[in-house]
Symmetry: C2
Subunit: 306 residues, 2 copies
Protein backbone atom coordinates (compact mmCIF):
# COMPACT_ATOMS: atom_id res chain seq x y z
CA UNK A 1 0.00 0.00 0.00
CA UNK A 2 3.03 2.29 0.10
CA UNK A 3 4.00 2.33 -3.57
CA UNK A 4 1.42 4.96 -4.46
CA UNK A 5 2.22 7.03 -1.38
CA UNK A 6 5.29 8.53 -2.97
CA UNK A 7 3.16 10.06 -5.72
CA UNK A 8 1.17 12.11 -3.19
CA UNK A 9 1.43 15.84 -3.80
CA UNK A 10 0.96 16.26 -0.05
CA UNK A 11 2.50 14.10 2.61
CA UNK A 12 0.56 13.26 5.75
CA UNK A 13 2.19 16.11 7.69
CA UNK A 14 0.83 18.55 5.13
CA UNK A 15 -2.58 16.90 5.37
CA UNK A 16 -2.49 17.26 9.15
CA UNK A 17 -1.72 20.95 8.71
CA UNK A 18 -4.66 21.35 6.34
CA UNK A 19 -6.96 19.27 8.53
CA UNK A 20 -6.34 20.99 11.84
CA UNK A 21 -8.38 24.18 11.35
CA UNK A 22 -11.07 22.25 9.52
CA UNK A 23 -11.36 19.74 12.33
CA UNK A 24 -11.50 22.55 14.86
CA UNK A 25 -14.40 24.14 13.00
CA UNK A 26 -16.19 20.81 12.78
CA UNK A 27 -15.72 20.03 16.49
CA UNK A 28 -16.84 23.49 17.47
CA UNK A 29 -19.87 23.32 15.21
CA UNK A 30 -20.85 19.85 16.42
CA UNK A 31 -20.46 20.94 20.02
CA UNK A 32 -22.77 23.89 19.39
CA UNK A 33 -25.38 21.84 17.53
CA UNK A 34 -25.57 18.37 19.05
CA UNK A 35 -27.77 17.65 22.04
CA UNK A 36 -28.21 21.30 22.91
CA UNK A 37 -31.68 22.16 24.31
CA UNK A 38 -32.52 18.44 24.21
CA UNK A 39 -34.04 16.61 27.18
CA UNK A 40 -31.16 16.04 29.57
CA UNK A 41 -30.22 12.38 29.23
CA UNK A 42 -30.96 12.27 25.51
CA UNK A 43 -28.79 15.31 24.89
CA UNK A 44 -25.98 13.81 26.93
CA UNK A 45 -26.18 10.53 25.04
CA UNK A 46 -26.15 12.36 21.70
CA UNK A 47 -23.09 14.39 22.69
CA UNK A 48 -21.33 11.34 24.06
CA UNK A 49 -21.92 9.54 20.76
CA UNK A 50 -20.58 12.36 18.63
CA UNK A 51 -18.09 14.59 20.46
CA UNK A 52 -14.45 14.00 21.27
CA UNK A 53 -13.77 10.95 19.16
CA UNK A 54 -13.56 9.63 15.65
CA UNK A 55 -11.33 10.43 12.72
CA UNK A 56 -13.95 12.74 11.16
CA UNK A 57 -13.11 11.29 7.77
CA UNK A 58 -16.53 12.06 6.32
CA UNK A 59 -16.45 15.74 7.36
CA UNK A 60 -12.94 16.10 5.93
CA UNK A 61 -14.10 14.57 2.64
CA UNK A 62 -17.01 17.01 2.49
CA UNK A 63 -14.77 20.00 3.20
CA UNK A 64 -12.03 18.91 0.81
CA UNK A 65 -14.52 18.26 -2.00
CA UNK A 66 -16.22 21.58 -1.36
CA UNK A 67 -12.88 23.41 -1.49
CA UNK A 68 -12.03 21.62 -4.74
CA UNK A 69 -15.13 23.16 -6.34
CA UNK A 70 -15.00 26.50 -4.52
CA UNK A 71 -18.13 25.62 -2.55
CA UNK A 72 -20.32 27.55 -0.11
CA UNK A 73 -18.39 27.47 3.17
CA UNK A 74 -21.42 27.54 5.50
CA UNK A 75 -23.15 24.80 3.53
CA UNK A 76 -20.03 22.64 3.56
CA UNK A 77 -19.64 22.92 7.33
CA UNK A 78 -23.26 21.88 7.82
CA UNK A 79 -22.93 19.03 5.35
CA UNK A 80 -19.69 17.93 7.03
CA UNK A 81 -21.40 17.75 10.41
CA UNK A 82 -24.49 16.06 8.95
CA UNK A 83 -22.45 13.21 7.48
CA UNK A 84 -20.72 12.72 10.82
CA UNK A 85 -24.07 12.59 12.63
CA UNK A 86 -25.30 9.86 10.30
CA UNK A 87 -22.05 7.97 10.83
CA UNK A 88 -22.26 8.40 14.61
CA UNK A 89 -25.89 7.28 14.78
CA UNK A 90 -25.08 4.19 12.73
CA UNK A 91 -22.33 3.26 15.18
CA UNK A 92 -24.65 3.69 18.17
CA UNK A 93 -27.27 1.42 16.64
CA UNK A 94 -24.67 -1.00 15.27
CA UNK A 95 -23.20 -1.47 18.75
CA UNK A 96 -26.56 -2.37 20.33
CA UNK A 97 -26.97 -5.88 21.74
CA UNK A 98 -29.39 -6.89 18.98
CA UNK A 99 -26.75 -5.96 16.36
CA UNK A 100 -23.02 -6.35 17.07
CA UNK A 101 -23.38 -6.19 20.86
CA UNK A 102 -20.15 -4.26 21.22
CA UNK A 103 -19.04 -2.65 24.46
CA UNK A 104 -16.02 -0.66 23.27
CA UNK A 105 -15.97 2.16 20.69
CA UNK A 106 -13.29 4.78 20.17
CA UNK A 107 -11.71 3.43 23.34
CA UNK A 108 -14.78 4.23 25.46
CA UNK A 109 -17.82 2.25 26.63
CA UNK A 110 -20.45 2.23 23.90
CA UNK A 111 -23.48 4.48 24.26
CA UNK A 112 -25.87 1.77 25.42
CA UNK A 113 -23.35 0.57 28.02
CA UNK A 114 -23.15 4.11 29.37
CA UNK A 115 -26.78 5.29 28.98
CA UNK A 116 -28.86 2.13 28.57
CA UNK A 117 -30.30 0.62 25.41
CA UNK A 118 -33.44 2.72 25.22
CA UNK A 119 -31.64 6.05 25.37
CA UNK A 120 -29.00 4.77 22.94
CA UNK A 121 -31.74 3.84 20.49
CA UNK A 122 -33.39 7.26 20.82
CA UNK A 123 -30.07 9.11 20.65
CA UNK A 124 -29.34 7.40 17.33
CA UNK A 125 -32.80 8.25 16.03
CA UNK A 126 -32.44 11.87 17.12
CA UNK A 127 -28.97 12.17 15.55
CA UNK A 128 -30.37 11.09 12.19
CA UNK A 129 -33.10 13.73 12.40
CA UNK A 130 -30.56 16.35 13.48
CA UNK A 131 -28.46 15.64 10.40
CA UNK A 132 -31.34 16.77 8.19
CA UNK A 133 -32.09 19.69 10.47
CA UNK A 134 -28.51 20.94 10.10
CA UNK A 135 -28.88 20.83 6.32
CA UNK A 136 -31.98 23.02 6.34
CA UNK A 137 -31.23 26.20 8.30
CA UNK A 138 -33.60 29.13 8.32
CA UNK A 139 -32.37 32.27 6.60
CA UNK A 140 -30.21 32.69 3.52
CA UNK A 141 -26.93 31.18 4.71
CA UNK A 142 -27.48 28.17 2.42
CA UNK A 143 -29.59 28.58 -0.75
CA UNK A 144 -32.81 26.51 -0.52
CA UNK A 145 -32.03 24.53 -3.67
CA UNK A 146 -28.66 23.55 -2.20
CA UNK A 147 -30.38 22.53 1.04
CA UNK A 148 -32.75 20.28 -0.90
CA UNK A 149 -29.93 18.69 -2.91
CA UNK A 150 -27.89 18.00 0.21
CA UNK A 151 -30.89 16.41 1.95
CA UNK A 152 -31.58 14.24 -1.11
CA UNK A 153 -27.98 13.02 -1.24
CA UNK A 154 -27.79 12.33 2.47
CA UNK A 155 -31.13 10.52 2.58
CA UNK A 156 -30.10 8.25 -0.28
CA UNK A 157 -26.68 7.57 1.22
CA UNK A 158 -28.17 6.71 4.62
CA UNK A 159 -31.26 4.75 3.67
CA UNK A 160 -32.28 1.32 2.48
CA UNK A 161 -30.40 1.70 -0.80
CA UNK A 162 -27.38 3.01 1.09
CA UNK A 163 -25.98 2.48 4.56
CA UNK A 164 -29.00 0.85 6.21
CA UNK A 165 -29.41 -1.48 3.24
CA UNK A 166 -25.76 -2.50 3.47
CA UNK A 167 -26.14 -3.25 7.15
CA UNK A 168 -29.14 -5.43 6.41
CA UNK A 169 -27.14 -7.40 3.83
CA UNK A 170 -24.33 -7.66 6.37
CA UNK A 171 -26.75 -9.10 8.93
CA UNK A 172 -28.02 -11.64 6.44
CA UNK A 173 -24.48 -12.62 5.40
CA UNK A 174 -23.13 -14.06 8.64
CA UNK A 175 -21.90 -17.56 7.87
CA UNK A 176 -22.84 -17.16 4.20
CA UNK A 177 -20.23 -17.60 1.45
CA UNK A 178 -20.32 -14.39 -0.61
CA UNK A 179 -18.36 -14.02 -3.82
CA UNK A 180 -16.36 -10.85 -4.43
CA UNK A 181 -19.17 -9.14 -6.37
CA UNK A 182 -21.61 -9.75 -3.51
CA UNK A 183 -19.11 -8.59 -0.91
CA UNK A 184 -18.42 -5.48 -2.95
CA UNK A 185 -22.14 -4.71 -3.23
CA UNK A 186 -22.59 -5.09 0.53
CA UNK A 187 -19.75 -2.70 1.26
CA UNK A 188 -20.70 -0.30 -1.51
CA UNK A 189 -23.87 0.24 0.48
CA UNK A 190 -22.78 -0.28 4.08
CA UNK A 191 -19.73 1.96 4.17
CA UNK A 192 -19.21 3.23 0.65
CA UNK A 193 -22.51 5.02 0.18
CA UNK A 194 -21.93 7.52 2.99
CA UNK A 195 -18.25 8.08 2.12
CA UNK A 196 -19.12 8.61 -1.54
CA UNK A 197 -22.10 10.70 -0.42
CA UNK A 198 -19.76 12.89 1.64
CA UNK A 199 -17.67 13.66 -1.45
CA UNK A 200 -20.78 14.32 -3.52
CA UNK A 201 -22.28 16.56 -0.85
CA UNK A 202 -19.07 18.56 -0.73
CA UNK A 203 -19.24 18.93 -4.51
CA UNK A 204 -22.90 19.97 -4.23
CA UNK A 205 -21.83 22.95 -2.12
CA UNK A 206 -20.39 24.42 -5.31
CA UNK A 207 -22.33 26.03 -8.12
CA UNK A 208 -21.65 25.63 -11.82
CA UNK A 209 -19.44 22.59 -11.30
CA UNK A 210 -18.90 20.80 -14.63
CA UNK A 211 -20.62 17.45 -15.17
CA UNK A 212 -17.18 15.93 -15.87
CA UNK A 213 -15.87 17.09 -12.50
CA UNK A 214 -18.94 15.74 -10.72
CA UNK A 215 -18.57 12.38 -12.44
CA UNK A 216 -14.91 12.25 -11.51
CA UNK A 217 -15.62 13.11 -7.88
CA UNK A 218 -18.26 10.39 -7.78
CA UNK A 219 -15.68 7.93 -9.06
CA UNK A 220 -13.17 9.12 -6.48
CA UNK A 221 -15.78 8.70 -3.75
CA UNK A 222 -16.72 5.21 -4.89
CA UNK A 223 -13.09 4.11 -4.96
CA UNK A 224 -12.15 5.41 -1.53
CA UNK A 225 -15.47 4.20 -0.12
CA UNK A 226 -14.62 0.66 -1.08
CA UNK A 227 -10.94 1.06 -0.18
CA UNK A 228 -11.96 2.12 3.30
CA UNK A 229 -13.76 -1.16 3.86
CA UNK A 230 -10.97 -3.27 2.38
CA UNK A 231 -8.54 -1.60 4.79
CA UNK A 232 -11.02 -2.08 7.64
CA UNK A 233 -11.03 -5.79 6.91
CA UNK A 234 -7.22 -5.82 6.84
CA UNK A 235 -6.98 -3.95 10.15
CA UNK A 236 -9.52 -6.29 11.73
CA UNK A 237 -6.93 -9.06 11.45
CA UNK A 238 -3.63 -7.12 11.71
CA UNK A 239 -4.29 -4.50 14.42
CA UNK A 240 -5.02 -4.86 18.13
CA UNK A 241 -8.09 -3.50 19.94
CA UNK A 242 -6.18 -0.74 21.70
CA UNK A 243 -4.88 0.76 18.46
CA UNK A 244 -8.25 0.40 16.76
CA UNK A 245 -10.20 1.78 19.74
CA UNK A 246 -12.72 -0.97 19.09
CA UNK A 247 -12.79 -4.74 19.33
CA UNK A 248 -10.35 -6.29 16.82
CA UNK A 249 -10.90 -9.64 15.19
CA UNK A 250 -14.66 -9.48 15.63
CA UNK A 251 -15.56 -10.02 11.98
CA UNK A 252 -13.56 -13.23 11.85
CA UNK A 253 -15.03 -14.28 15.19
CA UNK A 254 -18.54 -13.60 13.88
CA UNK A 255 -17.81 -15.63 10.75
CA UNK A 256 -18.53 -12.59 8.58
CA UNK A 257 -17.23 -12.57 5.02
CA UNK A 258 -14.39 -10.05 4.57
CA UNK A 259 -11.93 -9.09 1.85
CA UNK A 260 -9.22 -10.88 3.80
CA UNK A 261 -11.22 -14.10 4.06
CA UNK A 262 -11.99 -13.85 0.34
CA UNK A 263 -8.70 -12.59 -1.16
CA UNK A 264 -6.18 -13.34 1.58
CA UNK A 265 -4.17 -10.61 3.32
CA UNK A 266 -1.88 -9.87 0.37
CA UNK A 267 -4.76 -9.97 -2.08
CA UNK A 268 -6.71 -7.51 0.06
CA UNK A 269 -3.68 -5.20 0.26
CA UNK A 270 -3.29 -5.29 -3.51
CA UNK A 271 -6.98 -4.50 -3.88
CA UNK A 272 -6.66 -1.47 -1.59
CA UNK A 273 -3.70 -0.26 -3.60
CA UNK A 274 -5.62 -0.59 -6.87
CA UNK A 275 -8.55 1.35 -5.44
CA UNK A 276 -6.20 4.12 -4.32
CA UNK A 277 -4.88 4.33 -7.88
CA UNK A 278 -8.46 4.49 -9.16
CA UNK A 279 -9.27 7.33 -6.77
CA UNK A 280 -6.20 9.34 -7.78
CA UNK A 281 -6.85 8.72 -11.46
CA UNK A 282 -10.39 10.03 -11.04
CA UNK A 283 -9.04 13.24 -9.53
CA UNK A 284 -6.57 13.58 -12.41
CA UNK A 285 -9.51 13.33 -14.81
CA UNK A 286 -11.66 15.83 -12.91
CA UNK A 287 -10.16 18.95 -14.45
CA UNK A 288 -10.24 20.48 -10.95
CA UNK A 289 -7.13 22.31 -9.73
CA UNK A 290 -7.40 22.18 -5.96
CA UNK A 291 -7.49 18.45 -5.28
CA UNK A 292 -4.41 18.05 -3.06
CA UNK A 293 -6.45 17.53 0.12
CA UNK A 294 -8.64 14.93 -1.59
CA UNK A 295 -5.52 13.13 -2.81
CA UNK A 296 -3.98 13.15 0.63
CA UNK A 297 -7.22 11.91 2.19
CA UNK A 298 -7.27 8.99 -0.25
CA UNK A 299 -3.75 8.08 0.89
CA UNK A 300 -4.83 8.42 4.51
CA UNK A 301 -7.78 6.07 3.99
CA UNK A 302 -5.52 3.38 2.59
CA UNK A 303 -2.44 3.89 4.79
CA UNK A 304 -4.19 4.33 8.16
CA UNK A 305 -3.43 2.01 11.05
CA UNK A 306 -6.77 2.41 12.86
Amino acid sequence: MTAATTSAAWDQARLALWSRPHLERVEQALSGWVGVDSPVLLGEAMRYAVLDGGKRLRPLLVLAASEAVGGNVAAALRAACATELIHAYSLVHDDLPCMDNDVLRRGKPTVHVKFGEADALLAGDALQALAFELLTPDGDEVPPAMQATLCRMLARAAGSQGMAGGQAIDLASVGVALNEAQLREMHRLKTGALLQGSVEMGAACGTGVSPAALTALRGYGAAIGLAFQVVDDILDVTADSQTLGKTAGKDAAADKPTYVSLLGLEGARAQASRLLDDALAALDASGLQDTAALRALAHMVVDRDR
Copy 2:
Protein backbone atom coordinates in the same frame (compact mmCIF):
# COMPACT_ATOMS: atom_id res chain seq x y z
CA MET B 1 -66.78 14.79 24.00
CA THR B 2 -70.01 14.82 22.01
CA ALA B 3 -71.28 18.33 22.72
CA ALA B 4 -69.00 19.94 20.15
CA THR B 5 -69.71 17.24 17.59
CA THR B 6 -73.03 18.77 16.66
CA SER B 7 -71.26 21.96 15.53
CA ALA B 8 -69.24 20.07 12.89
CA ALA B 9 -69.84 21.32 9.37
CA TRP B 10 -69.13 17.78 8.22
CA ASP B 11 -70.27 14.66 9.98
CA GLN B 12 -68.03 11.60 10.07
CA ALA B 13 -69.76 10.07 7.04
CA ARG B 14 -68.81 13.14 5.00
CA LEU B 15 -65.26 12.92 6.35
CA ALA B 16 -65.11 9.28 5.30
CA LEU B 17 -66.23 10.29 1.82
CA TRP B 18 -63.52 12.96 1.65
CA SER B 19 -60.89 10.65 3.12
CA ARG B 20 -61.42 7.66 0.85
CA PRO B 21 -59.71 8.90 -2.34
CA HIS B 22 -56.99 10.60 -0.29
CA LEU B 23 -56.28 7.41 1.63
CA GLU B 24 -56.20 5.45 -1.61
CA ARG B 25 -53.60 7.83 -3.04
CA VAL B 26 -51.54 7.61 0.14
CA GLU B 27 -51.67 3.80 0.24
CA GLN B 28 -50.79 3.55 -3.42
CA ALA B 29 -47.93 6.00 -3.05
CA LEU B 30 -46.55 4.29 0.06
CA SER B 31 -46.77 0.93 -1.66
CA GLY B 32 -44.79 2.28 -4.60
CA TRP B 33 -42.16 3.97 -2.45
CA VAL B 34 -41.54 1.87 0.66
CA GLY B 35 -39.06 -0.99 0.65
CA VAL B 36 -38.90 -1.15 -3.14
CA ASP B 37 -35.44 -2.05 -4.50
CA SER B 38 -34.26 -2.56 -0.91
CA PRO B 39 -32.36 -5.64 0.23
CA VAL B 40 -35.00 -8.35 0.56
CA LEU B 41 -35.63 -8.77 4.29
CA LEU B 42 -35.16 -5.07 5.03
CA GLY B 43 -37.63 -4.09 2.34
CA GLU B 44 -40.15 -6.63 3.63
CA ALA B 45 -39.78 -5.35 7.18
CA MET B 46 -40.22 -1.76 6.01
CA ARG B 47 -43.36 -2.63 4.07
CA TYR B 48 -44.74 -4.69 6.93
CA ALA B 49 -44.25 -1.73 9.26
CA VAL B 50 -45.98 0.75 6.99
CA LEU B 51 -48.52 -0.86 4.67
CA ASP B 52 -52.03 -2.07 5.36
CA GLY B 53 -52.56 -0.62 8.79
CA GLY B 54 -52.94 2.55 10.75
CA LYS B 55 -55.44 5.35 10.67
CA ARG B 56 -53.18 7.54 8.50
CA LEU B 57 -54.13 10.51 10.62
CA ARG B 58 -50.92 12.39 9.88
CA PRO B 59 -51.24 12.02 6.10
CA LEU B 60 -54.86 13.17 6.27
CA LEU B 61 -53.82 16.21 8.29
CA VAL B 62 -51.17 17.07 5.72
CA LEU B 63 -53.60 16.70 2.82
CA ALA B 64 -56.41 18.61 4.54
CA ALA B 65 -54.08 21.47 5.51
CA SER B 66 -52.65 21.59 2.01
CA GLU B 67 -56.13 21.75 0.50
CA ALA B 68 -57.06 24.53 2.91
CA VAL B 69 -54.23 26.65 1.48
CA GLY B 70 -54.52 25.46 -2.13
CA GLY B 71 -51.20 23.64 -1.86
CA ASN B 72 -49.02 21.81 -4.38
CA VAL B 73 -50.68 18.40 -4.76
CA ALA B 74 -47.50 16.42 -5.49
CA ALA B 75 -45.69 18.00 -2.57
CA ALA B 76 -48.59 17.31 -0.23
CA LEU B 77 -48.71 13.63 -1.18
CA ARG B 78 -44.99 13.29 -0.52
CA ALA B 79 -45.25 15.17 2.76
CA ALA B 80 -48.23 13.03 3.76
CA CYS B 81 -46.27 9.84 3.19
CA ALA B 82 -43.16 11.25 4.88
CA THR B 83 -45.04 12.00 8.10
CA GLU B 84 -46.46 8.48 8.09
CA LEU B 85 -42.99 6.99 7.63
CA ILE B 86 -41.70 8.89 10.65
CA HIS B 87 -44.71 7.74 12.65
CA ALA B 88 -44.26 4.14 11.49
CA TYR B 89 -40.54 4.10 12.29
CA SER B 90 -41.22 5.48 15.77
CA LEU B 91 -43.69 2.65 16.42
CA VAL B 92 -41.22 0.02 15.26
CA HIS B 93 -38.52 1.34 17.58
CA ASP B 94 -40.97 2.01 20.41
CA ASP B 95 -42.13 -1.61 20.33
CA LEU B 96 -38.59 -3.02 20.66
CA PRO B 97 -37.77 -5.00 23.82
CA CYS B 98 -35.48 -2.25 25.13
CA MET B 99 -38.36 0.25 24.91
CA ASP B 100 -42.00 -0.86 25.43
CA ASN B 101 -41.36 -4.53 24.55
CA ASP B 102 -44.72 -4.80 22.83
CA VAL B 103 -45.73 -7.80 20.73
CA LEU B 104 -49.01 -6.54 19.22
CA ARG B 105 -49.48 -3.51 16.95
CA ARG B 106 -52.42 -2.76 14.69
CA GLY B 107 -53.64 -6.26 15.53
CA LYS B 108 -50.50 -7.92 14.12
CA PRO B 109 -47.22 -9.14 15.61
CA THR B 110 -44.82 -6.23 15.94
CA VAL B 111 -41.97 -5.91 13.44
CA HIS B 112 -39.27 -7.32 15.72
CA VAL B 113 -41.46 -10.30 16.58
CA LYS B 114 -41.88 -11.01 12.88
CA PHE B 115 -38.41 -10.10 11.53
CA GLY B 116 -36.11 -10.07 14.55
CA GLU B 117 -34.78 -7.13 16.50
CA ALA B 118 -31.86 -6.27 14.25
CA ASP B 119 -33.94 -5.99 11.10
CA ALA B 120 -36.63 -4.07 13.01
CA LEU B 121 -34.01 -1.59 14.16
CA LEU B 122 -32.65 -1.16 10.63
CA ALA B 123 -36.12 -0.95 9.10
CA GLY B 124 -36.94 1.93 11.44
CA ASP B 125 -33.68 3.67 10.59
CA ALA B 126 -34.28 3.23 6.87
CA LEU B 127 -37.87 4.50 7.13
CA GLN B 128 -36.64 7.71 8.70
CA ALA B 129 -34.14 8.24 5.88
CA LEU B 130 -36.82 7.42 3.30
CA ALA B 131 -39.08 10.12 4.74
CA PHE B 132 -36.48 12.75 3.83
CA GLU B 133 -35.82 11.10 0.48
CA LEU B 134 -39.53 11.37 -0.41
CA LEU B 135 -39.43 15.09 0.37
CA THR B 136 -36.55 15.74 -2.01
CA PRO B 137 -37.43 14.32 -5.42
CA ASP B 138 -35.34 15.04 -8.48
CA GLY B 139 -36.97 17.18 -11.13
CA ASP B 140 -39.39 20.08 -10.83
CA GLU B 141 -42.42 18.33 -9.32
CA VAL B 142 -41.78 20.09 -5.99
CA PRO B 143 -39.95 23.45 -5.95
CA PRO B 144 -36.55 23.18 -4.20
CA ALA B 145 -37.38 25.82 -1.62
CA MET B 146 -40.53 23.89 -0.68
CA GLN B 147 -38.48 20.69 -0.43
CA ALA B 148 -36.08 22.41 1.97
CA THR B 149 -38.88 23.84 4.11
CA LEU B 150 -40.61 20.47 4.35
CA CYS B 151 -37.35 18.75 5.37
CA ARG B 152 -36.71 21.42 8.00
CA MET B 153 -40.18 21.01 9.50
CA LEU B 154 -40.03 17.23 9.49
CA ALA B 155 -36.55 17.10 11.00
CA ARG B 156 -37.57 19.41 13.82
CA ALA B 157 -40.80 17.50 14.48
CA ALA B 158 -38.99 14.15 14.56
CA GLY B 159 -35.82 15.00 16.44
CA SER B 160 -34.58 15.64 19.95
CA GLN B 161 -36.72 18.75 20.33
CA GLY B 162 -39.70 16.87 18.91
CA MET B 163 -40.81 13.26 18.89
CA ALA B 164 -37.52 11.62 19.94
CA GLY B 165 -37.14 14.14 22.75
CA GLY B 166 -40.65 13.41 23.99
CA GLN B 167 -39.94 9.70 24.00
CA ALA B 168 -36.80 10.30 26.07
CA ILE B 169 -38.80 12.29 28.60
CA ASP B 170 -41.39 9.50 28.61
CA LEU B 171 -38.66 6.96 29.36
CA ALA B 172 -37.37 9.04 32.23
CA SER B 173 -40.88 9.56 33.64
CA VAL B 174 -41.87 6.02 34.53
CA GLY B 175 -42.82 6.01 38.19
CA VAL B 176 -42.20 9.77 38.44
CA ALA B 177 -44.97 12.14 39.56
CA LEU B 178 -45.32 14.75 36.78
CA ASN B 179 -47.55 17.78 37.16
CA GLU B 180 -49.87 18.78 34.32
CA ALA B 181 -47.38 21.24 32.81
CA GLN B 182 -44.67 18.55 32.68
CA LEU B 183 -47.06 15.97 31.26
CA ARG B 184 -48.19 18.48 28.63
CA GLU B 185 -44.57 19.23 27.67
CA MET B 186 -43.80 15.53 27.31
CA HIS B 187 -46.79 14.97 25.05
CA ARG B 188 -46.27 18.21 23.13
CA LEU B 189 -43.00 16.64 22.00
CA LYS B 190 -43.76 12.93 21.91
CA THR B 191 -46.99 12.97 19.94
CA GLY B 192 -47.88 16.61 19.40
CA ALA B 193 -44.80 17.68 17.48
CA LEU B 194 -45.39 15.33 14.54
CA LEU B 195 -49.16 15.94 14.44
CA GLN B 196 -48.62 19.70 14.53
CA GLY B 197 -45.77 19.25 12.06
CA SER B 198 -48.12 17.42 9.71
CA VAL B 199 -50.50 20.39 9.68
CA GLU B 200 -47.64 22.83 9.18
CA MET B 201 -46.13 20.74 6.38
CA GLY B 202 -49.49 20.70 4.64
CA ALA B 203 -49.64 24.48 4.98
CA ALA B 204 -46.07 24.72 3.63
CA CYS B 205 -47.26 23.10 0.40
CA GLY B 206 -49.05 26.34 -0.34
CA THR B 207 -47.48 29.56 -1.54
CA GLY B 208 -48.40 33.05 -0.42
CA VAL B 209 -50.29 31.81 2.63
CA SER B 210 -50.92 34.70 5.05
CA PRO B 211 -48.95 34.77 8.32
CA ALA B 212 -52.28 34.88 10.19
CA ALA B 213 -53.42 31.67 8.52
CA LEU B 214 -50.12 29.96 9.28
CA THR B 215 -50.31 30.99 12.92
CA ALA B 216 -53.90 29.74 13.14
CA LEU B 217 -52.97 26.39 11.57
CA ARG B 218 -50.09 26.04 14.01
CA GLY B 219 -52.54 26.64 16.85
CA TYR B 220 -54.94 24.09 15.39
CA GLY B 221 -52.11 21.57 15.11
CA ALA B 222 -50.95 22.16 18.67
CA ALA B 223 -54.47 21.70 20.03
CA ILE B 224 -55.25 18.48 18.18
CA GLY B 225 -51.74 17.18 18.86
CA LEU B 226 -52.34 17.40 22.57
CA ALA B 227 -55.98 16.28 22.29
CA PHE B 228 -54.78 13.13 20.52
CA GLN B 229 -52.66 12.15 23.50
CA VAL B 230 -55.36 12.98 26.05
CA VAL B 231 -57.74 10.70 24.13
CA ASP B 232 -55.03 8.04 23.90
CA ASP B 233 -54.74 8.10 27.66
CA ILE B 234 -58.53 7.81 27.99
CA LEU B 235 -58.69 4.89 25.55
CA ASP B 236 -55.85 3.14 27.36
CA VAL B 237 -58.20 2.68 30.33
CA THR B 238 -61.62 2.48 28.61
CA ALA B 239 -61.01 0.36 25.49
CA ASP B 240 -59.97 -3.27 25.08
CA SER B 241 -56.90 -4.52 23.20
CA GLN B 242 -58.93 -5.93 20.32
CA THR B 243 -60.60 -2.60 19.55
CA LEU B 244 -57.32 -0.70 19.96
CA GLY B 245 -55.30 -3.21 17.91
CA LYS B 246 -52.59 -2.84 20.55
CA THR B 247 -52.17 -3.74 24.19
CA ALA B 248 -54.65 -1.78 26.36
CA GLY B 249 -53.91 -0.71 29.90
CA LYS B 250 -50.15 -0.80 29.37
CA ASP B 251 -49.50 2.77 30.54
CA ALA B 252 -51.21 2.14 33.85
CA ALA B 253 -49.41 -1.20 34.13
CA ALA B 254 -46.08 0.53 33.47
CA ASP B 255 -46.87 3.17 36.09
CA LYS B 256 -46.57 5.91 33.47
CA PRO B 257 -48.12 9.28 34.21
CA THR B 258 -51.21 9.93 32.03
CA TYR B 259 -53.94 12.54 31.77
CA VAL B 260 -56.32 10.07 33.35
CA SER B 261 -54.03 9.42 36.32
CA LEU B 262 -53.57 13.17 36.70
CA LEU B 263 -57.05 14.57 35.98
CA GLY B 264 -59.29 11.52 36.40
CA LEU B 265 -61.41 10.12 33.55
CA GLU B 266 -63.97 12.94 33.55
CA GLY B 267 -61.28 15.58 33.89
CA ALA B 268 -59.41 14.11 30.93
CA ARG B 269 -62.60 14.06 28.86
CA ALA B 270 -63.27 17.69 29.69
CA GLN B 271 -59.70 18.54 28.69
CA ALA B 272 -60.11 16.79 25.32
CA SER B 273 -63.32 18.71 24.75
CA ARG B 274 -61.64 22.04 25.54
CA LEU B 275 -58.78 21.25 23.15
CA LEU B 276 -61.28 20.45 20.40
CA ASP B 277 -62.88 23.85 20.97
CA ASP B 278 -59.43 25.47 20.77
CA ALA B 279 -58.69 23.69 17.49
CA LEU B 280 -61.99 24.77 15.93
CA ALA B 281 -61.58 28.33 17.18
CA ALA B 282 -58.13 28.48 15.55
CA LEU B 283 -59.65 27.45 12.23
CA ASP B 284 -62.36 30.11 12.62
CA ALA B 285 -59.58 32.68 13.10
CA SER B 286 -57.53 31.46 10.14
CA GLY B 287 -59.41 33.38 7.48
CA LEU B 288 -59.20 30.23 5.31
CA GLN B 289 -62.37 29.09 3.52
CA ASP B 290 -61.79 25.41 2.93
CA THR B 291 -61.32 24.06 6.46
CA ALA B 292 -64.18 21.56 6.65
CA ALA B 293 -61.87 18.54 6.41
CA LEU B 294 -59.59 19.93 9.13
CA ARG B 295 -62.63 20.53 11.34
CA ALA B 296 -63.90 17.02 10.79
CA LEU B 297 -60.44 15.57 11.49
CA ALA B 298 -60.34 17.43 14.80
CA HIS B 299 -63.65 15.83 15.73
CA MET B 300 -62.35 12.46 14.64
CA VAL B 301 -59.26 12.80 16.83
CA VAL B 302 -61.38 13.48 19.89
CA ASP B 303 -64.30 11.14 19.21
CA ARG B 304 -62.33 8.09 18.02
CA ASP B 305 -62.69 4.76 19.82
CA ARG B 306 -59.28 3.34 18.85
